[in-house]
Symmetry: C2
Subunit: 314 residues, 2 copies
Amino acid sequence: MTPTGLPMTVPDPALPTRVRVHEVGARDGLQNEQSVVPTEIKAEFIHRLADAGLTTVEATSFVHPKWVPQLADAERLFPLLGDLQGVRLPVLVPNERGLERALALGAHRVAVFASATESFAKANLNRTVDEALAMFEPVVSRAREQDMHVRGYLSMCFGDPWEGPVPLGQVVRVCRALLDMGCDELSLGDTIGVATPGHVSALLTALTEAEVPVDRVGVHFHDTYGQALANTLAALRHGVTTVDASAGGLGGCPYAKSATGNLATEDLVWMLHGLGIDTGVDLGRLSATSAWMAGHLGRPSPSRTVRALTHQEQ
Amino acid sequence: MTPTGLPMTVPDPALPTRVRVHEVGARDGLQNEQSVVPTEIKAEFIHRLADAGLTTVEATSFVHPKWVPQLADAERLFPLLGDLQGVRLPVLVPNERGLERALALGAHRVAVFASATESFAKANLNRTVDEALAMFEPVVSRAREQDMHVRGYLSMCFGDPWEGPVPLGQVVRVCRALLDMGCDELSLGDTIGVATPGHVSALLTALTEAEVPVDRVGVHFHDTYGQALANTLAALRHGVTTVDASAGGLGGCPYAKSATGNLATEDLVWMLHGLGIDTGVDLGRLSATSAWMAGHLGRPSPSRTVRALTHQEQ
């Protein structure tokens, strides 16, 4: 609409004035794409994301390459990011071995990933929920000794493909355990994208009642059923100010059965800027970066904002 | 998620308990598709939409075929819908000639379409805003004499491609004029999809202050920038209970530069049912219908929910 492709701004006084976008495209996005992107392209991607104003860019994962071949180049990629001053570059670590690899490269921020359900803990980590927490405990403890910032991802916070709706108390319990073991922040994942705004509101209310501080809670919505942005709006109303999103909707390929659909950073930023919420992100530059990456992946971006702003013919 | 493809239900007490979906796929959707769909397929489509529980299905348009060749078959289509008892079948009429055509076929409900901006009134109707209102006045008046229900569409209520942000007072003035001339309900259109939730909230507040009853106001969002569902949530918070949507996101072809992107009915219904809001719609049946129509159009549905529920490989 506006010639420059910016949303109109009409603030809502009930919402925060600033949101930190936790950009996951280079990690959560690329690890779920079929193509393996060359290391130099990944490095350029992360530099372009930082140039677009993103201050937290999850860079890669130290999961064993057997499980995530798309990110097997972590040791080669991370040193290429050394010039990015002032940008947070968290990396995913599954265990103590992963943490040691991250430490050896000079990473300052790590993330562990727990599950709110037994079925997904078993499927993803081959452990019970509590066994997984026990595995992360020494990782978090050692990371904190090294003055690292630790994020705790929590999968299946709303629905689980095997178990259906996830009881709120079950999610609250694992959140508390992650904070008690020393995580600095949490990311509540709707891994299969089934949540709706009332459920988001109910979970955040339950967390607040359990004295989990909302300023340590981020949200991570998937757009499988198109609900991610409405759910984000519900979370903002509860005071959440950290929102995960993936540039161009990477990882949410709409052209495959396995599509899980990450919330596209551009669609998020359009809403936030329209609400007068500061993000520091240059939407035009970010969309251009996502269109460029879509070109490398050989398919259109699933982000509606990227398509609208870059006039992608598809 | 659930094995049956239904969202989990967690109500939000601040929202309405029932919403009427005003289904526009057969009219607003198909008139914006490149393909011209055969009359018999349109009739089957509308029957299937009714079978899926939609109670208001906008059926066709009596605009001159020169302007909308996709709906040139209104006279042949409408009689094929005569067996649909208890389903509202409004039709679009641009002027008195169109109204006479609708009356001759026994239509009970009509819709006129005004513009909130001078630029779009000029582009779409070749008139000023007030000249367009003057053109609709005798149409609404004659329709009311015949006990017809009249809906007034209002385009460009948020942003305009030529004028940018649209002042709230300008929208309020045209809304008042449409109600004063006898329209039973209004549909506020974000024709180019640029609105964000704070803007929606501000416009609904301004309308309430101008004593426009919220139970006569529907919302019509486009998903061009992915904002339609978040905007709908903002409108529900203001008590709006009529929401326009297009089955399968018809008319919002994501594969063309001209994409405007209607809100997909399935994505809307997923959110509403998750919020415990009754719609009467059978989501599985509706998604199957949209997948069937996508097959006729030879392209995937833009609705994320349709893709997820029908496992469309694209």
